[in-house]
């Protein structure tokens, strides 16, 4: 059975978001001086690029090609929260974003009768995503002395609130396309945020 247009669009949206994440982290990895953060950020950037390839390959194996999309989730994100100005703010927004990604992929994994190609692709990506959350959380802990633990906590709270608004807005904007994720018989995964 051919991939439905809505699912093709969503997999393409994931692909575009992975590409945008990769490009941003790649540029940042290039800008940073050598440090443990530069090391992990470079791996993170490479993972995101790989994830974009996984989705491209997945769509190909499903007999179709990615939809060309001009906007990704991150664009709405930055519009809502503003541009981060320092490394702590970048790490905080990344942590909130990565948790959102894990939740979204978990939600997709719980769709009934999920195609095996999609299930495998999400499974491969989730292994990396767990590490992304871990290293970014550790990096933020390491910044507590310089930025202040309370300030980091406040920044995370502010970004998390913005994330909830952006996600709700995205769901509303693409309600028709995302209907298969919101079906009544579909169990919502627990909030891992």
């Amino acid at each position: 059975m051919a991939l439905a247009d809505d699912e093709r669009w969503l997999l393409s949206y994931y692909r575009t978001s992975e590409i945008n994440g990769s490009l941003f982290f790649g540029r940042l990895a290039r800008a940073l001086k050598p440090s443990p953060i530069q090391h992990d950020l470079t791996k993170h950037f490479a993972d995101e690029a790989q994830h974009a390839w996984y989705w491209t390959d997945c769509l190909n194996r499903l007999g179709t090609r990615p939809v060309k999309l001009s906007e990704a989730y991150q664009d709405q994100y930055l519009e809502a929260v503003g541009l981060p100005a320092n490394l702590m703010e970048i790490m905080a927004i990344t942590l909130v974003f990565e948790r959102r990604v894990i939740n979204q992929y978990a939600k997709h994994l719980s769709v009934p009768d999920l195609r095996v190609e999609v299930k495998e692709t999400i499974g491969r990506i989730m292994e990396d995503e767990r590490w992304h959350v871990q290293w970014v959380r550790d990096a933020l802990t390491g910044m507590e002395e310089r930025f202040g633990k309370d300030h980091i906590t406040d920044t995370l709270r502010r970004y998390k609130e913005a994330d909830q608004e952006v996600y709700a807005h995205t769901l509303a904007e693409h309600e028709a396309r995302l209907g298969f994720l919101l079906a009544p018989n579909h169990t919502e995964p627990e909030d891992r945020g």
Binding site: L28, G82, L83, P84, A85, N86, E89, I90
Partner: protein, 78 residues
């Protein structure tokens, strides 16, 4: 560390953006020099690294010109 002077910071901004120093003056809007907003973030990170200072989101959103940015670095480094 001594507080960097404005010319030095403006020279560094020109380096980071890869544009000739003649184009980068204190009164030039940053928006005329950066190709996209991500470039502004990259440059902000590099400047903070170079001068061992911290900018917040609120600091950066108040910056319009190259001179504003140089003043911000100087105020944080001082």
């Amino acid at each position: 560390m001594t507080t960097p002077n404005q010319d030095e910071i403006i020279g560094r901004v020109a380096d980071l953006l890869g544009v000739s120093e003649g184009r980068v003056r204190a009164d030039v809007p940053l928006a005329d020099l950066v190709s996209d907003s991500y470039r502004l973030v990259e440059m902000a990170i590099e400047l903070q690294d170079d001068y061992d200072v911290i900018f917040s989101q609120a600091d950066l959103s108040a910056v319009t010109t190259v001179g504003d940015l140089a003043d911000l670095v100087r105020s944080r480094a001082g």
